[in-house]
């Protein structure tokens, strides 16, 4: 399946786009997604940390990703 990954802050600069399409197997987890993202965009590994959000909630590594989920990469936040 193909999923759309939204990017913000420095992730947008690393992707060179405000969202990218990633191809995943149907039962893919957040962990699988991170692995593929880091493979395609090694600069992600230089970040202090980053999270994946699924449908506007922080997701755990073991959570499953579905095709129509709203997926986003959340680099270290710095609001306030």
């Amino acid at each position: 399946m193909e999923v759309n990954v939204l990017a913000f802050g420095i992730a947008k600069e690393i992707f060179g786009a405000s969202s990218i399409i990633i191809t995943l197997t149907n039962d893919a987890t957040v962990s699988n997604l991170k692995y593929l993202l880091e493979h395609q965009y090694p600069k992600l590994k230089q970040l202090a940390s980053y999270m994946i959000a699924v449908n506007n909630e922080y997701a755990l590594d073991g959570d499953t990703v579905h095709q129509h989920d709203e997926i986003a990469i959340i680099p270290p936040v710095s609001g306030g």
Binding site: F8, L47, P76, V77, S78, G79, G80
Partner: protein, 139 residues
């Protein structure tokens, strides 16, 4: 228990925020106002850019307000956050908390800004005279 959460790309107005949290039931209001400082770690800051994942940011702010209502006897919580470009001394964030007694207002207000900075998906880019950096992005 009333909450007002707003993400705005225009000037935040402290007086309006205070007006909103005041009520005949309140005895104490604590307000935190973040302002853009002209320097960070000794370097001159020229301006800031704030980017926001709005739908999630609002959800996270609502969670934080809910946690504050669970933990302290507070009556009203307001959280306003800016996006876009901010000049020195402009206001990125206003948090206002009204309670019957001041202790709860102070503690909830502090909790909300501390937690907002840890969990709400908003990103700040600092512009210096000689470059720019996404705050906290790298170790």
């Amino acid at each position: 228990m009333t909450t007002q959460i707003k993400i705005a790309d225009t000037h935040l107005n402290p007086a309006e925020c205070i007006e909103w949290v005041m009520s005949p039931e309140a005895g104490g209001i604590d307000i935190f106002i973040g302002t853009v400082r002209n320097a960070t770690k000794g370097k001159t800051v020229v301006k800031l850019d704030f980017e926001c994942y709005e739908a999630m940011a609002i959800k996270e702010m609502e969670k934080i307000a809910g946690q504050a209502f669970d933990r302290w006897p507070v009556q009203k919580i307001l959280v306003h956050h800016r996006t876009g470009t901010l000049q020195i001394a402009e206001i990125p964030v206003i948090i206002a908390v009204a309670a019957a007694h001041r202790g709860a207002a102070f503690e909830a207000c502090r909790y909300i800004i501390d937690t907002l900075k840890q969990t709400v998906p908003i990103w700040k880019k600092e512009f210096f005279e000689d470059g720019e950096v996404w705050v906290a992005a790298h170790p």
